[in-house]
Amino acid sequence: MVQPLTPASTKLSVRGLVVRRGPRTILDVPELAVGSGEVLAIVGPNGAGKTTLVLQMALLERPEVGAVFFEDQTVRGRELTLRRRMAVVFQEPLLLDRPALANVEAGLRLRGVGRKERRERALRWLGRFGVEQLARRSSRTLSGGEAQRVSLARAFALEPEVLFLDEPFSALDTPTRAAIIDDLAAVLAETQTTTVLVTHDHDEAARLGHRVAVMIGGRIRQIGQPSDVFGAPADEHVAAFVGVETMAPAKVISRGGGLVVLRAGSHDIEAVDAGVFQRALVCLRPEEVGIAAPGDHEADSSVRNRLQGRVARVLRTGADARVEIDCGFPVIARITRRSLDELGIEPGSPVVATFKATAVHLIPR
Protein backbone atom coordinates (compact mmCIF):
# COMPACT_ATOMS: atom_id res chain seq x y z
CA MET A 1 0.00 0.00 0.00
CA VAL A 2 1.26 3.43 -0.82
CA GLN A 3 0.85 6.47 1.35
CA PRO A 4 -1.99 8.74 0.34
CA LEU A 5 -0.84 11.57 -1.83
CA THR A 6 -2.02 15.10 -2.25
CA PRO A 7 -0.57 16.10 -5.61
CA ALA A 8 0.79 19.56 -5.98
CA SER A 9 -0.64 20.00 -9.46
CA THR A 10 -2.52 18.22 -12.21
CA LYS A 11 -0.31 16.51 -14.72
CA LEU A 12 -2.79 15.07 -17.13
CA SER A 13 -6.55 15.47 -17.43
CA VAL A 14 -9.42 14.81 -19.74
CA ARG A 15 -12.69 16.60 -20.20
CA GLY A 16 -15.84 15.44 -21.88
CA LEU A 17 -14.14 12.50 -23.55
CA VAL A 18 -16.55 10.40 -25.57
CA VAL A 19 -15.56 7.60 -27.92
CA ARG A 20 -18.14 5.81 -29.99
CA ARG A 21 -17.74 2.83 -32.25
CA GLY A 22 -20.78 2.55 -34.38
CA PRO A 23 -23.89 2.62 -32.21
CA ARG A 24 -22.00 1.78 -29.02
CA THR A 25 -20.46 4.31 -26.72
CA ILE A 26 -17.31 2.71 -25.45
CA LEU A 27 -15.97 5.63 -23.48
CA ASP A 28 -17.72 8.45 -21.68
CA VAL A 29 -15.57 10.31 -19.17
CA PRO A 30 -16.73 13.81 -18.33
CA GLU A 31 -13.78 14.50 -16.12
CA LEU A 32 -10.64 12.79 -14.93
CA ALA A 33 -7.46 14.32 -13.54
CA VAL A 34 -4.18 12.67 -12.67
CA GLY A 35 -2.05 14.56 -10.20
CA SER A 36 1.67 15.04 -10.51
CA GLY A 37 3.49 12.12 -8.92
CA GLU A 38 0.29 10.15 -8.45
CA VAL A 39 -0.25 6.52 -9.38
CA LEU A 40 -3.82 6.15 -10.60
CA ALA A 41 -4.99 2.57 -10.93
CA ILE A 42 -7.89 1.91 -13.25
CA VAL A 43 -9.79 -1.31 -12.77
CA GLY A 44 -12.83 -2.71 -14.47
CA PRO A 45 -14.17 -5.74 -16.30
CA ASN A 46 -13.13 -6.60 -19.84
CA GLY A 47 -14.52 -4.28 -22.43
CA ALA A 48 -14.99 -1.49 -19.91
CA GLY A 49 -13.02 0.92 -22.05
CA LYS A 50 -9.88 1.05 -19.92
CA THR A 51 -7.49 0.55 -22.79
CA THR A 52 -9.39 3.06 -24.90
CA LEU A 53 -9.00 5.59 -22.13
CA VAL A 54 -5.27 4.91 -21.92
CA LEU A 55 -4.82 5.26 -25.67
CA GLN A 56 -6.62 8.58 -25.57
CA MET A 57 -4.65 9.88 -22.62
CA ALA A 58 -1.37 8.68 -24.10
CA LEU A 59 -2.26 10.65 -27.24
CA LEU A 60 -2.13 7.55 -29.39
CA GLU A 61 -5.66 8.14 -30.58
CA ARG A 62 -7.47 11.35 -31.19
CA PRO A 63 -10.87 11.91 -29.58
CA GLU A 64 -13.83 12.87 -31.69
CA VAL A 65 -15.53 14.49 -28.75
CA GLY A 66 -13.74 15.97 -25.77
CA ALA A 67 -10.19 16.97 -25.07
CA VAL A 68 -7.06 15.96 -23.27
CA PHE A 69 -5.00 18.44 -21.28
CA PHE A 70 -1.37 18.22 -20.31
CA GLU A 71 -0.56 20.40 -17.29
CA ASP A 72 -3.85 22.16 -17.87
CA GLN A 73 -3.03 23.10 -21.44
CA THR A 74 -4.65 21.57 -24.48
CA VAL A 75 -2.64 18.98 -26.29
CA ARG A 76 -3.86 19.95 -29.74
CA GLY A 77 -1.03 20.56 -32.11
CA ARG A 78 1.71 19.21 -29.91
CA GLU A 79 0.82 15.55 -29.67
CA LEU A 80 4.16 14.30 -30.98
CA THR A 81 6.12 16.53 -28.62
CA LEU A 82 4.09 15.39 -25.65
CA ARG A 83 4.27 11.74 -26.64
CA ARG A 84 7.98 12.13 -26.37
CA ARG A 85 7.56 13.10 -22.74
CA MET A 86 5.50 10.06 -21.88
CA ALA A 87 5.88 6.30 -22.14
CA VAL A 88 3.56 3.33 -22.52
CA VAL A 89 3.95 -0.32 -21.57
CA PHE A 90 1.37 -2.68 -23.02
CA GLN A 91 0.26 -6.13 -22.04
CA GLU A 92 2.63 -7.70 -24.55
CA PRO A 93 6.25 -6.59 -24.51
CA LEU A 94 6.09 -5.50 -28.16
CA LEU A 95 9.82 -5.45 -28.58
CA LEU A 96 11.48 -4.86 -31.93
CA ASP A 97 13.31 -7.67 -33.66
CA ARG A 98 16.75 -6.73 -32.39
CA PRO A 99 18.80 -7.19 -29.23
CA ALA A 100 17.32 -6.08 -25.91
CA LEU A 101 19.79 -3.26 -25.52
CA ALA A 102 18.94 -1.93 -28.95
CA ASN A 103 15.28 -2.00 -28.02
CA VAL A 104 15.83 0.19 -25.00
CA GLU A 105 18.06 2.50 -26.97
CA ALA A 106 15.53 2.80 -29.80
CA GLY A 107 13.15 4.90 -27.73
CA LEU A 108 15.99 7.10 -26.54
CA ARG A 109 17.21 7.53 -30.08
CA LEU A 110 13.78 8.68 -31.20
CA ARG A 111 13.89 11.32 -28.50
CA GLY A 112 17.23 12.65 -29.59
CA VAL A 113 19.39 11.33 -26.78
CA GLY A 114 23.08 11.15 -27.66
CA ARG A 115 24.85 7.88 -28.16
CA LYS A 116 26.88 7.72 -24.98
CA GLU A 117 24.00 8.72 -22.78
CA ARG A 118 21.72 6.27 -24.59
CA ARG A 119 24.05 3.41 -23.87
CA GLU A 120 24.53 4.40 -20.27
CA ARG A 121 20.84 4.88 -19.52
CA ALA A 122 19.84 1.72 -21.34
CA LEU A 123 22.28 -0.44 -19.44
CA ARG A 124 21.40 1.17 -16.15
CA TRP A 125 17.69 0.55 -16.51
CA LEU A 126 18.12 -2.96 -17.79
CA GLY A 127 20.11 -3.49 -14.65
CA ARG A 128 17.45 -1.88 -12.52
CA PHE A 129 14.99 -4.47 -13.71
CA GLY A 130 17.51 -7.25 -13.39
CA VAL A 131 18.01 -8.11 -17.03
CA GLU A 132 21.31 -6.46 -17.89
CA GLN A 133 22.83 -9.80 -18.81
CA LEU A 134 20.26 -10.10 -21.60
CA ALA A 135 21.43 -6.90 -23.23
CA ARG A 136 22.88 -8.57 -26.30
CA ARG A 137 20.23 -11.24 -26.64
CA SER A 138 17.82 -10.98 -29.51
CA SER A 139 14.38 -10.08 -28.24
CA ARG A 140 12.98 -13.17 -29.92
CA THR A 141 14.85 -15.43 -27.56
CA LEU A 142 13.53 -13.90 -24.32
CA SER A 143 10.94 -15.46 -22.09
CA GLY A 144 7.71 -13.63 -21.34
CA GLY A 145 8.93 -12.30 -18.03
CA GLU A 146 12.32 -11.29 -19.39
CA ALA A 147 10.75 -9.49 -22.31
CA GLN A 148 8.31 -7.61 -20.14
CA ARG A 149 11.17 -6.49 -17.90
CA VAL A 150 12.95 -5.20 -20.98
CA SER A 151 9.77 -3.41 -21.97
CA LEU A 152 9.59 -1.77 -18.56
CA ALA A 153 13.26 -0.86 -18.72
CA ARG A 154 12.62 0.67 -22.12
CA ALA A 155 9.81 2.81 -20.75
CA PHE A 156 11.62 3.96 -17.62
CA ALA A 157 14.84 4.67 -19.49
CA LEU A 158 12.90 7.39 -21.26
CA GLU A 159 12.42 9.07 -17.86
CA PRO A 160 8.85 9.92 -18.83
CA GLU A 161 6.80 12.55 -17.13
CA VAL A 162 3.77 10.32 -17.40
CA LEU A 163 3.87 6.53 -17.57
CA PHE A 164 1.03 4.35 -18.82
CA LEU A 165 0.90 0.69 -17.92
CA ASP A 166 -1.90 -1.22 -19.66
CA GLU A 167 -2.29 -4.53 -17.85
CA PRO A 168 1.45 -5.06 -18.04
CA PHE A 169 1.47 -8.27 -16.01
CA SER A 170 -1.68 -10.05 -17.20
CA ALA A 171 0.19 -12.35 -19.50
CA LEU A 172 2.67 -13.48 -16.86
CA ASP A 173 2.44 -16.39 -14.49
CA THR A 174 2.01 -15.75 -10.77
CA PRO A 175 5.56 -15.99 -9.43
CA THR A 176 6.93 -13.91 -12.30
CA ARG A 177 4.24 -11.36 -11.74
CA ALA A 178 4.89 -11.09 -8.02
CA ALA A 179 8.59 -10.51 -8.55
CA ILE A 180 8.08 -7.86 -11.22
CA ILE A 181 5.47 -6.02 -9.20
CA ASP A 182 7.90 -5.80 -6.36
CA ASP A 183 10.50 -4.25 -8.64
CA LEU A 184 7.98 -1.90 -10.17
CA ALA A 185 6.70 -0.71 -6.79
CA ALA A 186 10.21 0.12 -5.72
CA VAL A 187 10.99 1.98 -8.92
CA LEU A 188 7.74 3.96 -8.78
CA ALA A 189 8.44 4.98 -5.22
CA GLU A 190 11.92 6.13 -6.19
CA THR A 191 11.09 8.03 -9.32
CA GLN A 192 7.69 9.37 -8.24
CA THR A 193 6.56 9.19 -11.84
CA THR A 194 2.98 10.16 -12.59
CA THR A 195 1.51 6.83 -13.57
CA VAL A 196 -1.73 5.49 -14.98
CA LEU A 197 -1.95 1.77 -14.32
CA VAL A 198 -4.68 -0.33 -15.87
CA THR A 199 -5.21 -3.69 -14.28
CA HIS A 200 -7.90 -6.19 -13.55
CA ASP A 201 -6.06 -7.42 -10.48
CA HIS A 202 -7.52 -5.67 -7.42
CA ASP A 203 -4.56 -6.50 -5.28
CA GLU A 204 -2.20 -4.91 -7.73
CA ALA A 205 -4.39 -1.81 -7.88
CA ALA A 206 -4.67 -1.57 -4.15
CA ARG A 207 -0.99 -2.12 -3.67
CA LEU A 208 0.42 0.26 -6.23
CA GLY A 209 -2.22 2.96 -6.60
CA HIS A 210 -2.67 6.17 -4.68
CA ARG A 211 -6.15 6.24 -6.08
CA VAL A 212 -8.27 3.63 -7.76
CA ALA A 213 -10.87 4.33 -10.44
CA VAL A 214 -13.48 1.72 -11.27
CA MET A 215 -14.59 1.74 -14.87
CA ILE A 216 -17.66 -0.12 -15.97
CA GLY A 217 -19.31 0.23 -19.36
CA GLY A 218 -17.07 3.08 -20.46
CA ARG A 219 -17.81 5.23 -17.42
CA ILE A 220 -15.92 5.86 -14.24
CA ARG A 221 -18.26 4.72 -11.51
CA GLN A 222 -16.14 5.48 -8.55
CA ILE A 223 -12.74 6.95 -7.88
CA GLY A 224 -10.98 7.28 -4.58
CA GLN A 225 -8.54 5.69 -2.19
CA PRO A 226 -8.26 1.93 -2.46
CA SER A 227 -9.85 1.38 0.89
CA ASP A 228 -12.86 3.45 -0.11
CA VAL A 229 -13.31 1.82 -3.45
CA PHE A 230 -12.88 -1.71 -2.32
CA GLY A 231 -14.43 -1.30 1.10
CA ALA A 232 -17.20 1.15 0.32
CA PRO A 233 -18.39 0.74 -3.25
CA ALA A 234 -20.68 3.52 -4.43
CA ASP A 235 -23.24 1.44 -6.30
CA GLU A 236 -24.11 -2.17 -6.82
CA HIS A 237 -22.17 -2.47 -10.10
CA VAL A 238 -18.98 -1.33 -8.46
CA ALA A 239 -19.81 -3.41 -5.49
CA ALA A 240 -20.20 -6.52 -7.61
CA PHE A 241 -16.99 -5.79 -9.41
CA VAL A 242 -14.86 -5.22 -6.33
CA GLY A 243 -15.96 -8.45 -4.85
CA VAL A 244 -18.92 -7.68 -2.65
CA GLU A 245 -20.91 -10.80 -3.12
CA THR A 246 -23.69 -10.32 -0.61
CA MET A 247 -26.17 -7.60 -1.44
CA ALA A 248 -29.52 -7.60 0.28
CA PRO A 249 -32.19 -4.92 -0.08
CA ALA A 250 -33.27 -3.60 3.33
CA LYS A 251 -35.42 -0.99 4.97
CA VAL A 252 -34.37 1.23 7.85
CA ILE A 253 -36.20 0.43 11.05
CA SER A 254 -34.46 2.55 13.62
CA ARG A 255 -31.48 4.72 14.12
CA GLY A 256 -29.48 5.82 17.13
CA GLY A 257 -26.07 6.05 18.69
CA GLY A 258 -24.31 5.98 15.36
CA LEU A 259 -25.95 2.73 14.49
CA VAL A 260 -28.81 1.94 12.19
CA VAL A 261 -30.99 -1.13 12.19
CA LEU A 262 -32.41 -2.39 8.95
CA ARG A 263 -34.74 -5.15 8.15
CA ALA A 264 -33.80 -7.48 5.33
CA GLY A 265 -36.18 -10.31 4.75
CA SER A 266 -36.89 -11.67 8.20
CA HIS A 267 -33.68 -10.50 9.74
CA ASP A 268 -32.64 -7.41 11.61
CA ILE A 269 -29.21 -6.14 10.71
CA GLU A 270 -27.12 -3.66 12.64
CA ALA A 271 -24.80 -1.41 10.72
CA VAL A 272 -22.89 1.76 11.18
CA ASP A 273 -25.05 4.67 10.13
CA ALA A 274 -23.93 6.48 7.04
CA GLY A 275 -26.41 9.11 6.04
CA VAL A 276 -30.04 9.91 5.59
CA PHE A 277 -31.96 7.29 3.78
CA GLN A 278 -34.80 4.94 4.30
CA ARG A 279 -33.81 2.12 2.03
CA ALA A 280 -30.40 0.67 1.37
CA LEU A 281 -28.54 -2.25 -0.01
CA VAL A 282 -26.74 -4.21 2.66
CA CYS A 283 -23.33 -5.18 1.26
CA LEU A 284 -20.90 -7.69 2.69
CA ARG A 285 -17.55 -8.98 1.46
CA PRO A 286 -17.30 -12.76 1.78
CA GLU A 287 -14.19 -12.44 3.94
CA GLU A 288 -16.20 -10.50 6.51
CA VAL A 289 -18.82 -13.19 6.96
CA GLY A 290 -18.23 -15.99 9.41
CA ILE A 291 -20.11 -19.20 10.01
CA ALA A 292 -21.12 -20.61 13.37
CA ALA A 293 -23.00 -23.69 14.34
CA PRO A 294 -26.62 -22.99 15.30
CA GLY A 295 -26.27 -23.83 18.92
CA ASP A 296 -23.06 -22.04 19.40
CA HIS A 297 -23.72 -19.09 21.66
CA GLU A 298 -20.14 -18.07 22.02
CA ALA A 299 -20.53 -14.52 22.89
CA ASP A 300 -18.43 -12.14 20.90
CA SER A 301 -20.15 -8.87 21.49
CA SER A 302 -18.42 -7.21 18.61
CA VAL A 303 -20.15 -9.56 16.22
CA ARG A 304 -23.55 -7.99 16.33
CA ASN A 305 -25.19 -9.75 13.48
CA ARG A 306 -26.16 -13.39 13.56
CA LEU A 307 -28.44 -14.59 10.83
CA GLN A 308 -29.97 -18.00 10.85
CA GLY A 309 -30.00 -19.85 7.58
CA ARG A 310 -29.26 -23.00 5.69
CA VAL A 311 -26.24 -23.88 3.61
CA ALA A 312 -27.21 -23.71 -0.05
CA ARG A 313 -23.87 -24.43 -1.72
CA VAL A 314 -20.27 -25.12 -0.82
CA LEU A 315 -17.50 -24.34 -3.25
CA ARG A 316 -13.96 -25.37 -2.44
CA THR A 317 -11.40 -23.09 -4.04
CA GLY A 318 -7.74 -23.70 -3.47
CA ALA A 319 -7.12 -23.23 0.20
CA ASP A 320 -10.44 -21.60 0.95
CA ALA A 321 -14.08 -22.42 0.71
CA ARG A 322 -16.94 -20.29 -0.42
CA VAL A 323 -20.19 -21.05 1.29
CA GLU A 324 -23.52 -19.77 0.09
CA ILE A 325 -26.05 -19.49 2.90
CA ASP A 326 -29.71 -19.01 2.34
CA CYS A 327 -31.05 -16.60 4.95
CA GLY A 328 -34.06 -15.67 2.96
CA PHE A 329 -31.58 -13.99 0.70
CA PRO A 330 -28.15 -15.30 -0.25
CA VAL A 331 -25.25 -14.54 2.05
CA ILE A 332 -21.81 -15.53 0.85
CA ALA A 333 -19.09 -16.43 3.34
CA ARG A 334 -15.46 -17.23 2.75
CA ILE A 335 -13.80 -19.46 5.32
CA THR A 336 -10.74 -21.63 5.41
CA ARG A 337 -10.93 -25.24 4.44
CA ARG A 338 -9.96 -26.17 7.91
CA SER A 339 -12.89 -24.26 9.37
CA LEU A 340 -15.14 -25.90 6.84
CA ASP A 341 -14.00 -29.33 7.90
CA GLU A 342 -14.27 -28.48 11.58
CA LEU A 343 -17.82 -27.28 11.15
CA GLY A 344 -18.64 -30.34 9.21
CA ILE A 345 -21.31 -28.62 7.19
CA GLU A 346 -22.80 -29.53 3.89
CA PRO A 347 -25.66 -28.30 1.72
CA GLY A 348 -28.77 -28.30 3.82
CA SER A 349 -27.03 -27.89 7.17
CA PRO A 350 -28.48 -25.19 9.36
CA VAL A 351 -25.90 -22.53 10.17
CA VAL A 352 -25.59 -19.03 11.46
CA ALA A 353 -23.98 -16.34 9.35
CA THR A 354 -22.08 -13.86 11.48
CA PHE A 355 -20.62 -10.47 10.76
CA LYS A 356 -19.75 -7.28 12.52
CA ALA A 357 -21.78 -4.14 12.22
CA THR A 358 -18.72 -2.37 10.96
CA ALA A 359 -18.36 -4.89 8.14
CA VAL A 360 -21.66 -3.83 6.66
CA HIS A 361 -21.45 -1.38 3.78
CA LEU A 362 -24.67 0.38 2.95
CA ILE A 363 -25.56 1.66 -0.49
CA PRO A 364 -28.50 4.00 -0.17
CA ARG A 365 -31.41 3.44 -2.50
Binding site: R111, Q133, S143, R154, A179
Partner: protein
Protein backbone atom coordinates in the same frame (compact mmCIF):
# COMPACT_ATOMS: atom_id res chain seq x y z
CA UNK B 1 19.81 -32.30 -76.41
CA UNK B 2 22.77 -31.12 -78.33
CA UNK B 3 21.03 -27.83 -78.97
CA UNK B 4 21.48 -27.01 -75.28
CA UNK B 5 25.13 -28.02 -75.30
CA UNK B 6 25.58 -25.89 -78.37
CA UNK B 7 23.88 -23.08 -76.50
CA UNK B 8 26.30 -23.44 -73.59
CA UNK B 9 29.29 -23.43 -75.86
CA UNK B 10 28.01 -20.43 -77.71
CA UNK B 11 27.33 -18.66 -74.44
CA UNK B 12 30.96 -18.94 -73.49
CA UNK B 13 31.94 -17.88 -76.96
CA UNK B 14 29.69 -14.84 -76.75
CA UNK B 15 31.17 -13.79 -73.45
CA UNK B 16 34.77 -14.32 -74.43
CA UNK B 17 34.53 -12.51 -77.73
CA UNK B 18 31.81 -10.05 -76.75
CA UNK B 19 29.77 -11.03 -79.76
CA UNK B 20 26.34 -9.55 -80.33
CA UNK B 21 27.39 -6.70 -78.01
CA UNK B 22 26.53 -9.01 -75.18
CA UNK B 23 28.26 -6.99 -72.48
CA UNK B 24 26.55 -3.80 -73.49
CA UNK B 25 23.20 -5.56 -73.63
CA UNK B 26 23.74 -7.22 -70.27
CA UNK B 27 24.77 -3.96 -68.67
CA UNK B 28 21.69 -2.29 -70.06
CA UNK B 29 19.49 -5.10 -68.74
CA UNK B 30 20.82 -4.54 -65.24
CA UNK B 31 20.55 -0.78 -65.54
CA UNK B 32 16.97 -0.80 -66.78
CA UNK B 33 15.67 -3.51 -64.47
CA UNK B 34 17.66 -2.25 -61.50
CA UNK B 35 16.31 1.26 -61.85
CA UNK B 36 12.81 -0.06 -62.38
CA UNK B 37 13.09 -2.19 -59.23
CA UNK B 38 14.31 0.79 -57.26
CA UNK B 39 11.33 2.86 -58.35
CA UNK B 40 9.03 -0.06 -57.67
CA UNK B 41 10.58 -0.36 -54.21
CA UNK B 42 9.89 3.23 -53.24
CA UNK B 43 6.38 3.16 -54.68
CA UNK B 44 5.61 -0.34 -53.49
CA UNK B 45 6.74 0.25 -49.94
CA UNK B 46 4.75 3.46 -49.74
CA UNK B 47 1.60 1.95 -51.20
CA UNK B 48 2.04 -1.22 -49.19
CA UNK B 49 2.27 0.76 -45.98
CA UNK B 50 -0.85 2.72 -46.81
CA UNK B 51 -2.80 -0.41 -47.61
CA UNK B 52 -1.54 -2.16 -44.49
CA UNK B 53 -2.16 0.65 -42.05
CA UNK B 54 -4.78 3.02 -43.26
CA UNK B 55 -8.44 2.21 -43.26
CA UNK B 56 -9.91 3.90 -46.26
CA UNK B 57 -13.05 3.22 -48.27
CA UNK B 58 -12.26 0.78 -51.05
CA UNK B 59 -9.33 -0.71 -49.19
CA UNK B 60 -10.44 -4.19 -50.07
CA UNK B 61 -10.73 -3.15 -53.68
CA UNK B 62 -7.21 -1.77 -53.57
CA UNK B 63 -5.94 -5.04 -52.15
CA UNK B 64 -7.68 -6.98 -54.91
CA UNK B 65 -6.18 -4.61 -57.42
CA UNK B 66 -2.70 -5.23 -56.07
CA UNK B 67 -3.20 -8.97 -56.29
CA UNK B 68 -4.46 -8.58 -59.84
CA UNK B 69 -1.53 -6.36 -60.60
CA UNK B 70 0.81 -9.12 -59.58
CA UNK B 71 -0.66 -11.31 -62.25
CA UNK B 72 -1.02 -8.53 -64.77
CA UNK B 73 0.10 -9.63 -68.24
CA UNK B 74 3.21 -7.59 -68.91
CA UNK B 75 2.43 -7.35 -72.57
CA UNK B 76 -0.80 -5.54 -71.75
CA UNK B 77 1.14 -3.11 -69.59
CA UNK B 78 3.51 -2.56 -72.49
CA UNK B 79 0.71 -1.92 -74.91
CA UNK B 80 -0.96 0.64 -72.69
CA UNK B 81 2.27 2.47 -71.97
CA UNK B 82 3.20 2.43 -75.66
CA UNK B 83 -0.15 3.94 -76.55
CA UNK B 84 0.41 6.66 -73.99
CA UNK B 85 3.94 7.42 -75.07
CA UNK B 86 3.48 7.33 -78.83
CA UNK B 87 3.70 10.65 -80.54
CA UNK B 88 0.05 10.35 -81.29
CA UNK B 89 -0.68 9.66 -77.68
CA UNK B 90 -1.29 12.02 -74.76
CA UNK B 91 2.30 11.91 -73.54
CA UNK B 92 3.92 12.01 -76.94
CA UNK B 93 5.55 15.36 -76.29
CA UNK B 94 7.89 13.73 -73.82
CA UNK B 95 9.51 11.79 -76.65
CA UNK B 96 10.09 8.87 -74.36
CA UNK B 97 8.92 6.14 -76.72
CA UNK B 98 11.63 3.73 -77.83
CA UNK B 99 13.93 4.77 -75.05
CA UNK B 100 15.22 3.12 -71.90
CA UNK B 101 13.09 5.59 -69.94
CA UNK B 102 9.98 3.97 -71.36
CA UNK B 103 11.30 0.52 -70.56
CA UNK B 104 12.04 1.54 -67.00
CA UNK B 105 8.49 2.82 -66.63
CA UNK B 106 7.03 -0.37 -68.05
CA UNK B 107 9.12 -2.62 -65.83
CA UNK B 108 8.44 -0.45 -62.81
CA UNK B 109 4.71 -0.79 -63.43
CA UNK B 110 5.12 -4.54 -63.61
CA UNK B 111 7.27 -4.81 -60.49
CA UNK B 112 5.37 -2.38 -58.26
CA UNK B 113 2.33 -4.58 -57.54
CA UNK B 114 4.68 -7.39 -56.54
CA UNK B 115 6.51 -5.28 -54.01
CA UNK B 116 3.32 -3.59 -52.84
CA UNK B 117 1.68 -6.93 -52.18
CA UNK B 118 4.64 -8.33 -50.26
CA UNK B 119 5.02 -5.17 -48.22
CA UNK B 120 1.35 -4.88 -47.37
CA UNK B 121 1.12 -8.51 -46.36
CA UNK B 122 4.20 -8.50 -44.19
CA UNK B 123 3.36 -5.20 -42.51
CA UNK B 124 -0.17 -6.33 -41.83
CA UNK B 125 1.21 -9.51 -40.25
CA UNK B 126 3.02 -7.51 -37.60
CA UNK B 127 1.46 -7.36 -34.17
CA UNK B 128 -1.33 -4.80 -34.47
CA UNK B 129 -0.23 -3.06 -31.29
CA UNK B 130 3.38 -2.71 -32.41
CA UNK B 131 2.59 0.35 -34.44
CA UNK B 132 1.06 2.04 -31.42
CA UNK B 133 4.01 1.05 -29.27
CA UNK B 134 6.39 2.62 -31.73
CA UNK B 135 4.36 5.83 -31.75
CA UNK B 136 4.36 5.72 -27.95
CA UNK B 137 8.14 5.59 -28.01
CA UNK B 138 7.99 8.94 -29.72
CA UNK B 139 8.18 8.14 -33.41
CA UNK B 140 6.87 10.42 -36.08
CA UNK B 141 5.03 8.98 -39.06
CA UNK B 142 8.20 8.51 -41.07
CA UNK B 143 10.17 7.15 -38.15
CA UNK B 144 7.43 4.65 -37.45
CA UNK B 145 7.49 3.47 -41.03
CA UNK B 146 11.25 3.20 -41.02
CA UNK B 147 11.26 1.14 -37.83
CA UNK B 148 8.50 -1.19 -38.97
CA UNK B 149 10.13 -1.71 -42.34
CA UNK B 150 13.19 -2.88 -40.48
CA UNK B 151 10.96 -5.33 -38.68
CA UNK B 152 9.96 -6.87 -42.00
CA UNK B 153 13.37 -6.64 -43.61
CA UNK B 154 13.42 -10.32 -44.46
CA UNK B 155 10.17 -10.39 -46.43
CA UNK B 156 11.13 -7.05 -47.94
CA UNK B 157 14.30 -8.56 -49.31
CA UNK B 158 12.24 -11.34 -50.81
CA UNK B 159 9.99 -8.70 -52.33
CA UNK B 160 12.93 -6.97 -53.97
CA UNK B 161 14.12 -10.24 -55.41
CA UNK B 162 10.68 -11.00 -56.75
CA UNK B 163 10.29 -7.52 -58.20
CA UNK B 164 13.68 -7.58 -59.87
CA UNK B 165 13.00 -11.04 -61.24
CA UNK B 166 9.73 -9.87 -62.72
CA UNK B 167 11.37 -6.86 -64.29
CA UNK B 168 14.42 -8.46 -65.80
CA UNK B 169 12.67 -11.49 -67.21
CA UNK B 170 10.03 -9.40 -68.90
CA UNK B 171 10.13 -9.22 -72.70
CA UNK B 172 6.76 -8.20 -74.17
CA UNK B 173 6.42 -4.76 -72.66
CA UNK B 174 10.10 -3.95 -72.89
CA UNK B 175 10.25 -4.67 -76.61
CA UNK B 176 7.00 -2.89 -77.29
CA UNK B 177 7.93 0.37 -75.60
CA UNK B 178 11.65 0.13 -76.21
CA UNK B 179 11.73 -1.15 -79.75
CA UNK B 180 14.61 -3.56 -79.13
CA UNK B 181 16.89 -1.16 -80.97
CA UNK B 182 20.51 -2.27 -81.12
CA UNK B 183 22.82 -0.01 -79.20
CA UNK B 184 19.93 1.85 -77.62
CA UNK B 185 17.20 -0.24 -76.07
CA UNK B 186 18.11 -3.84 -76.62
CA UNK B 187 18.20 -5.92 -73.46
CA UNK B 188 18.88 -9.60 -72.97
CA UNK B 189 15.28 -10.73 -73.28
CA UNK B 190 14.79 -8.74 -76.47
CA UNK B 191 18.02 -10.12 -77.84
CA UNK B 192 16.84 -13.66 -77.19
CA UNK B 193 13.62 -12.91 -79.01
CA UNK B 194 15.46 -11.43 -81.96
CA UNK B 195 17.88 -14.31 -82.39
CA UNK B 196 15.02 -16.77 -82.08
CA UNK B 197 13.03 -15.02 -84.80
CA UNK B 198 16.07 -15.13 -87.04
CA UNK B 199 16.45 -18.82 -86.43
CA UNK B 200 19.76 -18.51 -84.61
CA UNK B 201 18.76 -20.81 -81.81
CA UNK B 202 22.27 -21.30 -80.56
CA UNK B 203 22.70 -17.59 -80.03
CA UNK B 204 19.23 -17.30 -78.53
CA UNK B 205 19.97 -20.05 -76.03
CA UNK B 206 23.32 -18.55 -75.25
CA UNK B 207 21.81 -15.19 -74.45
CA UNK B 208 19.17 -16.91 -72.38
CA UNK B 209 21.82 -18.74 -70.39
CA UNK B 210 23.63 -15.50 -69.73
CA UNK B 211 20.38 -13.92 -68.53
CA UNK B 212 19.74 -16.83 -66.22
CA UNK B 213 23.26 -16.70 -64.86
CA UNK B 214 22.85 -13.01 -64.12
CA UNK B 215 19.56 -13.57 -62.30
CA UNK B 216 21.08 -16.35 -60.23
CA UNK B 217 24.01 -14.13 -59.30
CA UNK B 218 21.72 -11.32 -58.16
CA UNK B 219 19.54 -13.68 -56.16
CA UNK B 220 22.58 -15.26 -54.58
CA UNK B 221 23.64 -11.86 -53.37
CA UNK B 222 20.26 -11.10 -51.85
CA UNK B 223 19.92 -14.54 -50.30
CA UNK B 224 23.32 -14.14 -48.72
CA UNK B 225 22.15 -10.88 -47.18
CA UNK B 226 18.97 -12.56 -45.98
CA UNK B 227 20.85 -15.35 -44.29
CA UNK B 228 23.08 -12.84 -42.61
CA UNK B 229 20.06 -11.13 -41.14
CA UNK B 230 18.57 -14.41 -39.97
CA UNK B 231 21.82 -15.45 -38.40
CA UNK B 232 22.07 -12.27 -36.35
CA UNK B 233 18.53 -12.65 -35.11
CA UNK B 234 18.83 -16.13 -33.70
CA UNK B 235 22.21 -16.66 -32.12
CA UNK B 236 22.29 -19.69 -29.87
CA UNK B 237 22.56 -18.88 -26.19
CA UNK B 238 26.11 -20.21 -25.84
CA UNK B 239 27.49 -17.98 -28.56
CA UNK B 240 25.82 -14.92 -27.15
CA UNK B 241 26.93 -15.76 -23.66
CA UNK B 242 30.45 -15.85 -24.98
CA UNK B 243 29.79 -12.41 -26.47
CA UNK B 244 28.54 -11.01 -23.22
CA UNK B 245 31.20 -12.75 -21.22
CA UNK B 246 28.71 -13.98 -18.62
CA UNK B 247 27.09 -17.23 -17.83
CA UNK B 248 23.53 -17.10 -18.96
CA UNK B 249 20.92 -18.25 -16.48
CA UNK B 250 17.89 -19.87 -18.02
CA UNK B 251 15.77 -17.81 -15.67
CA UNK B 252 16.71 -14.27 -14.83
CA UNK B 253 15.76 -12.75 -11.56
CA UNK B 254 17.16 -10.25 -9.19
Amino acid sequence: MELIWEGLREAIDLLVHNKHDVYEIARRSIYVSGTATLIALVLGVGLGAVIAFKRFPGRMFALALVNTGMGLPPVVVGLVIAILLWRSGPLGQLNWIYSTKAMIIAQAVIATPVITGFTAASLAALHPRLRLQVYALGASRLQMLWLLLQEVRLPLLAAIMAGFGAAISEVGASVMVGGNIPGQTRVLTGAVLLEQSKGNFGAALALGIILLAMMIAVNLLFTWIQLGIRRDAALPMETQAADAGTLVQPWSNR
